[in-house]
Symmetry: C2
Subunit: 569 residues, 2 copies
């Protein structure tokens, strides 16, 4: 029997669910309502519209064959009715209808449903500080906000910008403002790292250094206390000073739009997200929800997680479409995969970062490998840094994050691990992962395999490592005299360090270590260093064999120090 | 107790096993023997040395920190002894020693072992035709052969080259000869497709068309019967003609070097590969083997497979190293992952191709999707073609192959599936794969998710498809008049086809189909066409709804026809 389906929200999940359903049940009727007039757009493309990479806002709303996904398109191509500039006011679950209001005419009416889909999405978290409503202060909330920001920039009204929040949208926006418009941009982040919760502090430092090289100012552990200006914003006052800014982008995260669901008595989580089962059904079996307004199970922690991502919404939308038509599709849960371009870097992540894992109460370690993304003899190549997060006792992989050159190399490695996370792989599984090999694409021992092997060696206690931040501490305390920095590279690499820090820096190339064992100081802790941490690991093995065991190996080596911006030479 | 380890073969697996072992048991002794004088090189880099991308042969033999992996390096850095230009003549398993011969002095001696590693690799299959021993005929067998080929080319002695064999080494060589040296090159392949057994005939046609655009001649289903020339090769005589060539590269595959193992009474498979268990032990528990001389279990078919790849050898080498030291590492088996660069294309594959699956007796179908590799609104993007091979009844994924632009995008998708193949994923798992999304890297509904969904729709009978080769058959028979080609794109796209083929080609854009249903011919089979197969699928759903069910949808659409070189307009 034909059904009456109502979908509230017409951006990512809503249209996907509606179209999938209509392909399965063409005889049924679907009505979609949205508060906005611009619908079904690629919201993740907003930073690229603002940068100018995408010239026209309508491009974000087009199909891949250049048809505008507007009301007419949905009617003609999909046989779906859309009511734009229409707000859903409340849901009567007993009588199964939605009360809607036309935002132009202010008229109210009702839409009966057999099944209802909540695709109400998310809204930017509001920063509750004085001056937040000044002209020139924006959130990247929807296409209309994006158009307003770009109008202001392109009319030459912006010289200095402030981005509040160092999450991935904040960084994308900082790049768009700096790289394409030459705007002097500062990112203020309240925590002690960029991309908090997504990648480790160590990797985040690489991103920070890169952005600083691109002339973006980054202020960590800094809080904006108020925004000031006569009618337009002119400056921000932080805990430690004042920043001039004629444009302020607030990107401090998003929160689920669940008011409608809550008012209708549906289960909503403590964090404000709509609760759904694996079929994407809410606590009312005739009401489905998905996308930015719901929580789903994190497959690593087993706890609910919040993933406001367009890709997630699309996949969940299809599942809802199938189930509306009587199917039995299930959303398996999420591992939290992410990729972001920041200038010349690609940053990708899945699962838990080391800090997140520890916050979850897991006894975790992380292994870091820095290696060429392709065969080292292949002319076009670049260094990639990957970090694997592993549960200590079980060797179970909890997550992986990486920073590499632009291109699909880094995200490809992350996706290969993301795919298997739900099967609970161990470090051995990563070491044995069968990745396709050819010199223009990878190394015979791919960085991912090397990472699994390194983690295995760390867990076995054979590779005793320090991270750059721990190295930095040891380095700062070098005058105490209880540590020697032993450079395991060739003399040519070590020489400038030895000349500059004769007291603390010693050179014995790894391949000379056996012959020169007598030169190794036996009364001090050794910090072993090479270019990437591989030869220094070999040196550690040799020293252990000789009974010199008070050593640690700098993960990622000098290459990592450089990426951190910690250039000692 | 310290052990005596002998390793026969010092290219990929041998050094890896030896070094891993020495890191675990530094007090034990390892001797490695090799017939050649150049050892531990990246054999997969040979085509890039020949093309000139890698300028010096020694680069293939260097570590990533530019140390030459020669005898001295292995002694000093790894404490491993190497005997080069030394042949292992036979193995005495009872008394546990190897008889070796110094190829310079012709002296024979013995090497006692506690455990032995066979890393004897593979050799090029020999083509048994007259003229094969003429000067100018080469196999890409080792560094010395590579140096000889490059010497000949760089001294200007080569104008026309013939590559016998269209496998991946043959194609890499054809590119190297054409692209960097401007040599007129012909590839002769005995089967009816390039890369046989690795990708489908359909995808192989895309590769063929691309190579032809790059001015490589490709002859399929052609056999070289003899090579002719006075002392140097001058021409090849094939079943259908004569080809001038002053350089002939024979790349008709490799076969395992297992003579030594066989002579020692170890189990050798019918195909000539050494048989090993999951610990990489031969039928003698004190003798390990791995790399190009062994067979391992294919995780899809459950049958033994042969994977002569440097990456496989490295991973197996580490497992052998661990087990030599009393560890319990296991090689899980292989899915057969592969990637190759051919001019501007990257071609990647894992698991079974559709033809291979059917040859294995599996009831398989394949789904093909052609889609942008990144968000369609992102300025830098290109079309990627992926094909998923699926068991019909179970929906189990058997393999995936793809052709896309150069870069890591295609291989990244293949690796994501390769990683999970051993867990026996279904099409739903591919549709739900959580891939990291951001517009510069992927689409919100990634091509891989779309591929899983398309396969699901095909299995459900909702998307009834034809491949390009089937389309080609229907097209050739169009004068019969029982088929109408229905173009579901906008009029602008369809117009040139309608003008040219008025009788056979009809235009009804998908979004006008409901309104123009009366125009649809009901007495003929409909071949539905759009740019990529997405709108034509929607049209098929709508036609089905209207009771017009004799239709098929061209997978990959006009984009695929173009990539095939089948340009009808």
């Amino acid at each position: 029997m034909p059904q009456n389906i109502v979908v509230i929200g017409a951006v990512a999940l809503g249209p996907k669910a509606a179209c999938r359903f209509k392909r399965l049940e063409p005889e049924s009727k679907v009505v979609m309502v949205d508060r906005d007039d611009i619908i079904s757009y690629g919201g993740c493309g907003i930073p690229y519209f603002i940068s100018g990479d995408v010239s026209d806002p309508s491009h974000l709303q087009e199909t891949s064959f250049h048809m505008l996904r507007d009301k007419t398109f949905f009617k003609d191509a999909k046989d779906i009715d859309i009511l734009t500039k229409t707000e859903a006011l409340n849901i009567n679950r007993r009588e199964k209808y939605v009360v809607i209001k036309n935002l132009d005419t202010r008229e109210e009416s009702t839409l009966p449903y057999d099944k209802l889909v909540l695709a109400t999405g998310s809204r930017p978290k509001r920063l509750d500080i004085p001056g937040i409503d000044l002209d020139g202060v924006f959130a990247v909330s929807n296409m209309n906000a994006a158009i307003a920001i770009k109008d202001r920039i392109s009319s030459g009204q912006v010289e200095k910008a402030l981005v509040i929040g160092g999450g991935f949208i904040g960084l994308e926006m900082a790049e768009a403002l700096t790289d394409m418009w030459g705007i002097e941009t500062t990112v203020v982040e309240i925590t002690d790292q960029l991309l908090p919760g997504l990648i480790s502090r160590n990797l985040a430092q690489i991103v920070k250094h890169h952005m600083e090289e691109k002339e973006v100012s980054i202020l960590l552990e800094e809080r904006v206390e108020r925004l000031e200006g006569s009618d337009r914003v002119e400056r921000a006052v932080t805990a430690s000073g004042t920043l001039d800014a004629d444009l302020v982008i607030v990107s401090v995260g998003v929160e689920p739009n669940s008011d409608l669901a809550r008012a209708a008595g549906l289960d909503v989580s403590p964090k404000g997200a709509i609760v759904v089962n694996s079929k994407m059904q809410t606590s009312d079996q005739d009401i489905y929800a998905g996308g930015d307004c719901v929580e789903v199970i994190n497959l690593i922690s087993g706890k609910p997680g919040y993933y406001p991502l367009g890709s997630m919404a699309n996949r969940q939308g299809r599942i809802i479409g199938t189930n509306l038509a009587g199917g039995h599709a299930e959303f398996p849960g999420a591992v939290g995969s992410l990729v972001v371009k920041v200038f010349d870097l690609s940053i990708a992540a899945t699962g838990l970062s080391i800090e997140t894992a520890r916050r979850e109460g897991l006894d975790a370690i992380s292994a870091l490998v820095i290696q060429f993304d392709r065969a080292h003899f292949y002319p076009e190549k670049d260094l990639m840094t990957l970090e694997l997060v592993v549960e200590k006792t079980s060797g179970r992989v909890l997550g992986i994050q990486g920073v590499g050159p632009m291109g699909e190399g880094t995200v490809g490695r992350i996706n290969a691990v993301a795919s298997i996370l739900k099967y609970k792989p161990t470090v051995e599984d990563i070491g044995n992962l069968e990745l396709a090999y050819s010199p223009p694409f990878s190394a015979a021992m791919d960085i991912l395999n090397a990472l699994g092997n390194t983690a295995e060696n760390i867990l076995a206690g054979k590779n005793r490592v320090v991270d750059v931040d721990e190295f930095d501490e040891l380095w700062k305390q070098r005058e105490r005299g209880d540590v020697v920095f032993l450079d395991c590279r060739g003399w040519g690499n070590a020489e400038p360090f030895v000349n500059k820090y004769a007291q603390h820096w010693k050179s014995i190339p790894q391949d000379e270590l056996r012959a020169r064992m007598a030169e190794v100081p036996r009364d001090k802790k050794l910090v072993l260093i090479c270019n990437t941490g591989v030869r220094s690991y070999e040196a550690q093995v040799t020293l252990d064999e000789m009974g010199i065991t008070d050593s640690c190996n700098l993960q990622g080596g000098v290459a990592c120090l450089k990426k951190w911006g910690l250039d000692l030479a």
